[in-house]
């Protein structure tokens, strides 16, 4: 056996604050959203006021009667007005001269569907808070229905697979890119397998929120809803990045920069084969998703100026 290297991962250096949550939370076993929920305050600090809406995180963010699952001040509110509520809080703290971090913590249903209007509005007005969207590609808390970030071909209970339908029949909304195109001070993508990248982006958002609106889109697979073993979510996060299905980038005032280059992207089939919600996909279905991935990536390449610097990096 080789000499043991006793050195903690440097990600620990980013965890400067206590985990404000109780030990046993209602998240499913292996849920990376639980990791994210606990990770965010350990990085961002103890000046957070968090807002949450009905979603997988609501049973945890919001208490039950006088009891609560964590020690953060929170405002539990509606999916329709998540960003507007964060706006109200942030403006009031600004007025009082209270320096703190308002975090609007929502799923993709709130961000991309029912609360998209006021998310866009808050971004346009450059409201001073951090919006974190955890993207599990659907309405998981209500039992796995499709949202506008559900990818083409994916099976959900409202995009089922049968004789007549074959999973979601339209492509997904590229929400992080839409948010970056609001030219906000900061917008970025992140995922749970690249924790240092995520931590850096959280800290950058904390810094940039002094200039205004910050958006973080965190890819957060749902083992229960997607049909993945409870220990499988991080493999998905990595593979989503390696296939360019979910590229990691950040944008300051709309200027996009990749934070993790993928030199030889793997075919999307390497990703879809890990997930039950894609198991019905035939070659054509996979090809369609590949086309979508390539298109989304080509837009990012053009916007980031990567094309001019020598074409595709793969």
């Amino acid at each position: 056996m080789t000499e043991k290297k006793k050195k903690l991962s440097k990600v620990f250096d980013y965890l400067q604050y206590d985990d404000p949550y109780a030990g046993g939370l209602t998240f499913c076993a292996g849920c990376p959203l639980e990791s994210l929920a606990r990770f965010v305050p350990q990085v961002l600090g103890d000046d957070i006021v968090i807002t949450g809406t009905p979603s997988c995180s609501a049973p945890v963010l919001l208490g039950q009667n006088i009891g609560t699952w964590h020690r953060m001040p929170y405002y539990g509110t509606l999916m329709t007005g998540a960003a507007a509520n964060a706006t109200g809080l942030a403006r009031m703290y600004k007025r009082k001269g209270i320096k703190n971090t308002v975090v609007c913590f929502n799923g993709d249903g709130t961000a991309s569907d029912i609360g998209f209007g006021n998310l866009s509005g808050a971004a346009e007005r450059n409201e001073p808070f951090i919006y974190i969207c955890y993207d599990n590609e659907g309405y998981m808390n209500t039992g796995i229905q499709r949202s506008s970030t559900t990818p083409a071909g994916a099976r959900t209970t409202t995009s089922p697979v049968g004789r007549m339908t074959h999973g979601k029949d339209v492509t997904s909304k590229n929400l992080p890119l839409l948010m970056a195109m609001h030219k906000v001070p900061y917008a970025a993508t992140a995922t749970m397998s690249y924790l240092e990248d995520l931590a850096k982006k959280l800290l950058k958002a904390k810094e940039k929120k002094e200039e205004g609106f910050c958006y973080l889109h965190v890819f957060c697979p749902c083992p229960t809803g997607w049909g993945v073993p409870t220990d499988g979510s991080l493999d998905l996060c990595r593979m989503a990045v390696k296939t360019n299905f979910f590229p990691l980038w950040e944008a300051e005032n709309g200027e996009i920069r990749f934070t993790r280059e993928v030199n030889k992207p793997k075919p999307i089939g390497e990703y879809t084969k890990l997930i039950k919600k894609f198991e019905h996909l035939d070659e054509q279905g996979v090809a369609r998703l590949q086309k979508d991935v390539d298109f989304n990536h080509s837009i990012l390449m053009r916007l980031s100026g990567s094309c001019e610097q020598g074409g595709r990096h793969d």
Partner: protein, 401 residues
């Protein structure tokens, strides 16, 4: 009444919308969320004018829709702010879920709602259907009669909403078009006098607010008896709001020289056999007709509803006792109930106030004016009812045959 100088108040000729905006500005809100909609838009334009001139120092949030307007002010209120927003009709409908959040979290939001017709049939015209449609939102709903009262009710609304014993959001209603764009004489008090009027709020215990570093959260799930407890408390607060509003109105009268009677205003009801129950701008017309009828020796009077929620059941029972005929004028309809919405609530009290015939009049829908002829027609029907003649229970006065 205190002696007043120019420093105490300015006399201006302004629209109802401007009066609402002055009212809000004078109360020095911390956060104002705005979204335009006819006939309310002038309120927010005026507030932005005040902000531009420096008369109003507030966080102005020009949101992308009414739903956000209500969410912004509710959350800002949770963070300890005094807040204001304004809306009308479809805008009110669009913020309905957020209104429920505001009242359920007991956020002392103050909003003006410029009454306009709502559902389905697009009508850029007056009507109280919007207010009626939000009846069960858990808000306190006030109704003003003229431009002066709009301003005054906004001031009183803050006293009521932010009262530690109440903590319920308040909606000040006034008729779109008739009052929103009508310019009238308005006494605009000084900021100092308004501060004095509101000062009592500062002496009260502090309500819970969201602050960083404190492990308090708002919007927790109400589970079983926890939910029941909060609902019960809310309902009790609504009940307390009745007497509180009467008291605030009296105090207002002593400080500003204008009193309105609290939950209801009684106009020549003393010996009246026949009483109309109405609300809003139509009451000006009704008062004129009541005067005329009185000159003719007919004992008629008016009860003006200034508070729609909580419903002034006790006051109405008292004032309608032993009349011969009572007519209720609704500027809205009740779908699937007999007669107008306010009528049906007055009827629910009739067992308590005695044997009078109670008739429903639907009038003034979609800017069909409540004319003095209409009011005469109502009083004629009520006179017939008082004589014991058979009369239709519901009359659509605004519908021409």
């Amino acid at each position: 009444m205190q002696a007043r100088s120019e420093q105490d108040a300015r006399i201006m000729v302004i629209t109802g919308n401007a009066a609402a905006a002055y009212g809000a500005m004078l109360c020095r809100p911390d956060v104002v969320a705005t979204y335009p909609i006819t006939p309310q838009t002038e309120v927010i334009e005026k507030l932005f004018e005040f902000a531009a001139s420096g008369e109003l120092d507030a966080e102005m949030v020009p949101v992308e829709g009414e739903n956000s307007a209500m969410n912004v002010v509710t959350a800002a209120s949770m963070a300890g702010g005094r807040v204001f927003t304004a809306t009308s009709s479809w805008g009110l409908a669009f913020m309905y879920d957020a209104m429920l959040a505001a009242s359920g979290t007991r956020a002392p939001v103050v909003m003006v709602n410029v009454n306009r017709e709502t559902p389905g049939i697009i009508a850029v015209s007056s009507g109280q259907q919007d207010m009626i449609s939000t009846r069960d939102s858990g808000w306190i709903q006030l109704v003003a009669e003229d431009c002066q009262e709009i301003l005054d009710q906004v001031l009183m609304a803050y006293r009521l909403a932010e009262d530690h014993d109440i903590q319920v959001p308040v909606m000040v209603n006034y008729d779109g078009f008739y009052l929103s764009y009508l310019a009238g004489k308005v006494e605009v008090p000084s900021k100092k006098r308004v501060s004095d009027f509101l000062a009592v709020l500062n002496e009260q215990p502090k309500r819970q607010i969201l602050l960083p570093g404190q492990p308090l959260g708002c919007g927790t799930h109400g589970i079983l008896q926890g939910f029941v407890e909060l609902r019960y408390k809310h309902v009790q607060a609504m009940e307390r709001a009745k007497a509180a509003f009467d008291a605030i109105d009296q105090e207002f009268a002593s400080q500003f020289g204008r009193g309105y009677g609290g939950q209801i205003e009684e106009y020549r009801t003393g010996d009246a056999d026949i009483v109309l129950v109405a609300s809003g701008s139509m009451c000006g017309t009704i008062k004129t007709v009541v005067d005329r009828k009185r000159e003719q020796g007919l004992p008629v009077g008016l009860v003006r509803l200034r508070m729609y929620r909580p419903f002034p059941s006790e006051k109405l029972t008292q004032v309608l006792k032993d009349r011969k005929a009572v007519g209720v004028v609704d500027r809205s309809v009740g779908f699937g109930i007999q007669g107008g919405p306010i009528y049906s609530e007055v009827c629910s009290l009739s067992a308590k106030f005695g044997g009078a015939s109670v008739l429903s009049f639907i009038d003034g829908l979609a800017n069909t004016d409540v004319t003095s002829d209409h009011v005469e027609q109502m009083l004629d029907l009520l006179s017939a009812a008082a004589r014991g003649e058979p009369c239709p229970q519901v009359t659509w006065v605004c519908m021409e045959e």
